[in-house]
């Protein structure tokens, strides 16, 4: 894929230009963490493209925690299209999660119109990780700490600027339109590859201390462990809060809820959690996952057994957010390391 070099002042110019057509969000540092913030003139200088992933996932831009899907009985059910969104600085783990989201929400014959329009109209300028958190384990699942595809443009920080790798026609058009801002990148590619390798090696070393099984054995190990006591043991400290689901970039389950809107009834879509008691319960009262350990196991089933089968990839991207979020200190890496050999 073609690459160019862009220095920081020019990148800020580019972002300023993009914001004429898009609502732009980019990570900004706050007390050591990164949060997506709507980009306005005064925060251009604060955009933090280095480091690791933001606290929140990017799924919420396309699949909000709470959104209005439709009013009732509308002849033309298309809601007003939202302004397209540009996301700057998405990391590799979150880019990987979009493959899960795309699979779920664009699947025929019933695509999700709001998701599809926001994804089609949107722009993503991702960026390499330059460090890792102590909860990161992407490489153990075969995901590199730098985005390999799915982006329009990817930025790799190098000296006083960034290598901009083009990943789509939309990205190419953008670079063409603002060609003056970009320079030749040949000088920098080798250095980028070296720093990518350095971080990757460091992360491999760190993750190997967690004794995670080889990625290609995980599904088989999960299947062998279905009736293991591991699930009951792990569920002992689970408080059934659903935090792991809500913070997960690849969890997509939702519940529909109807309510009286301002003028008419309306249907909402809310994020749901498979850890909650009633998740699979039917009206007659039957509940295939009555016990918490079954629901906890189901989370792993979905991520390490279902998605490998239907999509050929894990429903987990190794971002480690659930490890930080869990009040019961359940560490997904530890659970995976205890799967039957």
């Amino acid at each position: 894929m073609k690459s160019y070099f862009i220095n920081r002042p020019n990148l800020e110019r580019l972002i300023r230009s993009i914001s004429k057509d898009y609502t732009v969000y980019a990570p900004v540092l706050h007390e050591g963490n990164r949060y997506y913030k709507k980009v306005e003139e005064d925060i251009l200088g604060d955009i933090a493209l280095d480091g690791t992933r933001a606290v929140e996932t990017i799924k919420s831009f396309y699949f909000p925690a709470r959104s209005r899907l439709t009013g009732y009985f509308l002849k033309d059910p298309s809601d007003k299209r939202r302004r397209p969104i540009a996301i700057i600085g998405a990391k590799s783990c979150d880019m990987a999660s979009l493959k899960i989201m795309d699979y779920v929400f664009t699947q025929e014959p019933f695509g999700d119109p709001a998701y599809i329009s926001q994804r089609e109209d949107g722009l993503i300028i991702s960026s390499d990780c330059t460090s890792y958190n102590n909860t990161c384990f992407c490489v153990a699942l075969g995901i590199m700490p730098y985005p390999e595809d799915g982006f329009d443009i990817n930025l790799s920080e190098i000296e006083s600027g960034y290598i901009s790798e083009i990943g789509s026609e939309k990205g190419e058009r953008l670079v063409k339109e603002y060609a003056k801002l970009f320079q030749n990148s040949d000088l920098y590619i080798e250095r980028r590859d070296l720093s990518r390798k350095k971080l990757k090696d460091e992360l491999y070393r760190y993750v190997s201390s967690k004794n995670l099984p080889q990625a290609d054995t995980l599904q088989e190990r999960f299947r062998k462990s279905f009736n293991s006591s591991l699930w009951e043991e792990t569920a002992r400290t689970c408080v059934e809060c659903g935090a792991c689901n809500f913070i997960c970039p690849a969890c997509h389950c939702f519940i529909l809820a109807d309510q009286q809107g301002e003028q008419e009834f309306e249907r909402l879509r809310l994020w749901d959690s498979c850890l909650l008691f009633s998740f699979a319960k039917v009206a007659g009262g039957a509940n295939p996952r009555k016990f918490l350990y079954q629901r906890l196991r189901n989370r792993f089933d979905k991520k390490f057994n279902f998605f490998p089968d239907v999509l050929g990839r894990f429903g987990c991207t190794g971002c480690g957010r659930c490890i930080e979020a869990c009040p019961g200190k359940i560490d997904i890496r530890e659970v995976l390391s205890k799967l039957a050999g």
């Binding site: 899907l69 439709t70 009013g71 009732y72 009985f73 509308l74 059910p77 298309s78 779920v104 929400f105 699947q107 019933f110 695509g111 999700d112 119109p113 599809i116 329009s117 279905f226 997509h252 389950c253 939702f254 519940i255 529909l256 809820a257 109807d258 309510q259 009286q260 009834f265 249907r267 879509r269 749901d272 498979c274 998740f279 699979a280 319960k281 039917v282 009206a283 007659g284 009262g285 039957a286 509940n287 295939p288 996952r289 009555k290 979905k302 279902f306 089968d309 239907v310």
Partner: protein, 274 residues
């Protein structure tokens, strides 16, 4: 812009039949005809309250109206039971797969239904009867808790029995009352001494999970192969389009890949009878 799959179609309640103390059949007239195939389901919306999945119980060849037979079981169904003629509801669908009627041709068909599980089988039965010449015979086994709980009474105890000589009924109740002259016992007891050439038969089962479980085991005991048994699975189907995640069964979503499953496709999965 693609159609919004979450938007229901406005439909009017044009008639209501009381089937049993807890079950009613609603005759609904959608603004735009909703064409379904036997086995598929729809999501029925009570305005402002919510929606729930049901398999229509009317003939798929009836295009204008749709009948849905509903047991009062939860939050939404309690509201549905309060509906009156003229009330407005919403319907979206149909979703999921249908009974593979072409695989049933020239076969002896065994239908086994328990309680409100008779609803999808009614749509199937009416579809079969529509082309009765294509099938060798139909044996319809129905079970209910008590005589009062039998739904479509006029039909299963009378009218449908007289349609064709190829059609046989076995109706049983778990517990009889003073007036009941028929069989007493669980629906599985109707499967004893079947006058069916099992090798050339398919069995279609619909009912509560426990009934489906024991009926399936009984069918296997009397000689049906897993490939000859079709089940209508009941899971929590919310979105109906394979997105919300609630009705996952192994690698399937019941709403999208079901609700009709041939037993050999799911017999090794966890959680099928729960």
């Amino acid at each position: 812009m693609i159609d919004n799959p979450y938007a229901p179609i406005k439909s009017e309640v044009i008639d209501i039949h009381e089937e049993s103390p807890t079950i009613k059949t609603f005759v609904l007239k959608p603004e735009v005809p909703i064409l379904f195939k036997a086995g598929q389901f729809v999501e029925l919306t009570v305005p402002g309250i919510g929606e729930a999945p049901f398999t229509p119980s009317s003939s798929p060849y009836e295009e204008e109206n749709l009948e849905i037979t509903i047991m009062k079981a939860g939050r939404v169904t309690s509201k549905i039971h309060q509906l009156k003629k003229g009330d407005i509801v919403g319907i979206r669908g149909p979703y999921g797969n249908e009974y593979p009627l072409s695989d049933f041709e020239q076969k002896e068909i065994l239908l086994v239904g328990g309680g409100v599980g008779l609803a999808p089988l009614r749509a199937l039965f009416l579809a079969l009867v529509h082309h009765i010449d294509r099938y060798k015979a139909i044996t319809f086994c129905c079970g209910a808790r008590t005589p009062a709980d039998i739904i479509y009474k006029d039909c299963v105890l009378d009218k449908w029995q007289r349609i064709d000589k190829k059609i046989n009924f076995r109706v049983t109740v778990d517990k009889k009352d003073d007036k009941w002259q028929g069989r007493e016992g669980l629906v599985t007891t109707t499967l004893d001494n079947l006058k069916i050439d099992i090798k050339n038969s398919v069995a279609i089962v619909c009912g509560p999970p426990i009934m489906m479980k024991f009926t399936t085991f009984k069918l296997i005991e009397i000689g049906y192969k897993d490939t000859q048994i079709y089940l209508s699975m009941e899971k929590n189907m919310s979105c109906g389009i394979g997105k919300c995640g609630h009705c996952r069964l192994g690698n399937f979503y019941v709403c999208k890949d079901g609700p009709v499953f041939r037993y050999d496709k799911i017999n090794t999965l966890h959680e099928i009878w729960d």
